[in-house]
């Protein structure tokens, strides 16, 4: 199989101030990739750079051998759908209408939804289990519900790649596991390639095909097992009273 995304020698940051240097990684189709790291290490910066919301300082990213940074906004929107952490304040819009936003890059100038579009919208609603919400107003939803609806929107956008910035940030344990399972399912049975950042390291280790770690300006990419064996996961929280148990694959609190 041919690689889908290739990142080579990418340096990211704000205004020439590099946060993470020399990022190199290869993503194969249908992989689930979790990006982990402590707060302020550059997870969001990396996500934003890959979503073209932030220009890279140097380096290159190719998707299907096309340079990511040369894609037009429209070409991008048909290749990658994005779920960000920024709050969406939109009123007088039903959940169904919100999910339909995912079809915007594909519709004509007036935004007319064809039967195919309707099918994809319903499909996304089904997948995310938000059938009971469709007639509610988006602004009346809880944070967790909003997150699911927004993910449904991204699925309706029907792109081979989905990138999410901390999709489980505001969710309780049940919602959290549901989202992980949903994302895993999408890569296994719906030919999606998914990259998302998360703080739920244990779940990430269990579910991800590949883990990306940012730590002190250094980027690691490998299978979860390799990273655990190399003790990189354990180093994440050194000096903080928490250590990762390489056998049980969970964190221990040191007393």
């Amino acid at each position: 199989m041919k690689e889908l995304i290739t990142i080579s020698k990418l340096t990211i940051g704000y205004q020439k101030c590099a946060i993470v240097k020399d990022i190199s990684a290869v993503v194969m189709p249908n992989e689930l990739i979790c990006l982990i790291g402590r707060n302020g290490q550059g997870k969001s910066t990396l996500i934003k750079t890959l979503c073209k919301l932030l220009p890279p300082i140097s380096g290159n990213v190719t998707i299907n051998s096309n340079n990511l940074f040369n894609l037009s906004d429209n070409e991008f929107s048909k290749l990658i759908s994005v779920v960000l952490t920024s709050k969406i304040n939109i009123y007088n819009t039903s959940v169904k209408e919100f999910v339909a936003y995912g079809r915007y890059p594909h519709t004509n100038w007036i935004g007319k939804l064809t039967e195919t579009d309707q099918g994809l919208i319903n499909n996304a609603i089904e997948l995310c289990g938000i059938n009971h919400l469709v007639n509610r107003d988006f602004s009346s939803l809880s944070d967790g519900e909003k997150q699911k609806v927004n993910i449904a929107r991204a699925i309706a956008q029907h792109t081979p790649i989905i990138i999410l910035d901390e999709p489980t940030a505001h969710l309780d344990l049940v919602n959290n596991i549901e989202i992980f399972k949903l994302l895993k399912e999408l890569t296994q049975t719906h030919q999606k390639t998914i990259l998302f950042s998360t703080h739920h390291i244990e779940s990430a280790i269990r579910m991800a095909d590949q883990l990306w770690v940012v730590e002190n300006g250094i980027f690691y990419a490998n299978t979860p097992k390799q990273l655990v064996d190399q003790n990189i996961i354990n180093q994440l929280f050194c000096n903080s009273g928490i250590s990762f148990n390489n056998q049980t694959m969970i964190f221990d609190y040191n007393h």
Binding site: C51, K52, L53, S72, D73, N74, F76, S77, K78, I80, S81, V82, L84, S86, I88, N89, I90, Y91, N92, T93, E97, Y101, G102, Y104, P105, T107, W109, I110, G111, S139, Q157
Partner: protein, 336 residues
């Protein structure tokens, strides 16, 4: 929607019917349809005075409302509007420079009526464009949209001060015509001016409808809009251009008319319960026409001898509605 179309036609006819000279309704219809022989003085009053005034109300109402709707989406602020953000003031500056500024240097524009009419529109448009561009520049630097609003108000004040200086150095006759202009006046619009602004405004209104889809997408926020295929910078410039044309052109001849641009989009959202601009744009056009025709009718009602300045009426109607909106749904801080 249909009700609004019917009511705007009714208000349009009422607006033509009312005035300091009483003309029977049947004669007015005859004059408008050019059938039957009516008194020549009546014909002049209806065709050269009341008809252009009513048409001006229609055009102003539509243009200012759509301009307000788009500004509220662009600035993601419910209080945005041509008047509050200082864009009308910008247009005023353009007009002040044109009407009074040139005469300071001994050039009198009023003597070339053709040039005068076009120049007025151009300068008014450039004035509003200037303010909008400054505001847009501010949006790039200041992420907080509330600050941008305050900046707009500040900008409006500075411009007013600047206009004051121009006024100080200008001649009495021009000063008076400028002061009259600032009060907002639909009846000052001539048939020739209507002919100039109608095609410009119609085309721009069609253009505003064509960007509905982009406006909808922009409601999700800049980042989402960009990742979903919107060329954000190009879009922002487009909206700035549209709103500057709509505000500038209208303000050139009718003066700054307040509050219509703020309240009408809110009324449209409240009536339709939607955030879809494909609906909101035509709805704002219709509501704007209704509201301004109504304001114009009120302005001639109390006293058949004189006409009240339209700006006073629009404030009287507009401000209570804004206050009512604030109290009724406390979510006025949110667009949509």
């Amino acid at each position: 929607m249909l009700i609004l179309i019917v009511s705007s036609i009714l208000l349009f006819l009422t607006d033509i019917f009312l005035g300091s000279v009483q003309i029977p309704f049947k004669s007015i219809l005859n004059i408008l349809t050019q059938s039957g022989n009516e008194k020549e003085s009546w014909q002049i009053i209806v065709l050269n005075n009341r008809l252009p005034k009513a048409l001006a109300a229609v055009l102003c109402g539509a243009a200012l409302s759509v301009s307000g709707l788009q500004m509220q989406t662009l600035f993601r602020n419910p209080l945005a509007g041509p008047y509050i953000l200082g864009i009308s003031s910008g247009a005023g500056l353009g007009v002040a420079i044109f009407v009074m500024g040139f005469s300071i240097f001994g050039i009198s524009m009023a003597s070339y009526s053709f040039l005068y009419n076009y120049g007025l529109v151009l300068f008014s448009f450039l004035g509003s464009l200037l303010v909008l561009l400054i505001l847009l520049g501010a949006i790039y630097r200041l992420k907080d949209i509330m600050t941008v609003l305050i900046l707009g108000i500040m900008l409006g004040s500075i411009i007013t001060a600047f206009v004051g200086i121009i006024q100080y150095f200008s001649f009495d006759s021009q000063l008076k015509s400028f002061i009259m202009w600032t009060m907002g006046n639909l009846s000052g619009v001539s048939n020739q001016q209507i002919l100039i602004i109608t095609p410009i405004l119609l085309l721009t209104l069609i253009w505003s409808f064509l960007v509905s889809k982009q406006l909808n997408l922009y409601l999700l926020g800049e980042d989402y809009a960009k990742t979903m295929g919107l060329n954000v910078k190009k879009f922002q410039l487009t909206i700035i251009l549209i709103t500057a044309i709509l505000t500038g052109v209208v303000t050139a001849y009718c003066g700054p008319i307040g509050f219509i641009g703020i309240i009408v989009p809110h009324l449209a959202r409240m009536l339709s319960k939607t955030s879809n601009h494909q609906l909101l744009t035509p709805l704002s056009v219709l509501l704007g026409i209704n509201v301004l025709l109504f304001a114009d009718i009120v302005s001639v009602l109390p006293n058949y001898e004189t006409v009240l300045p339209i700006n006073a009426i629009s404030s009287f109607i507009g401000i209570p509605i804004i206050i009512w909106i604030i109290f009724k749904n406390k979510r006025i801080t949110n667009v949509g």
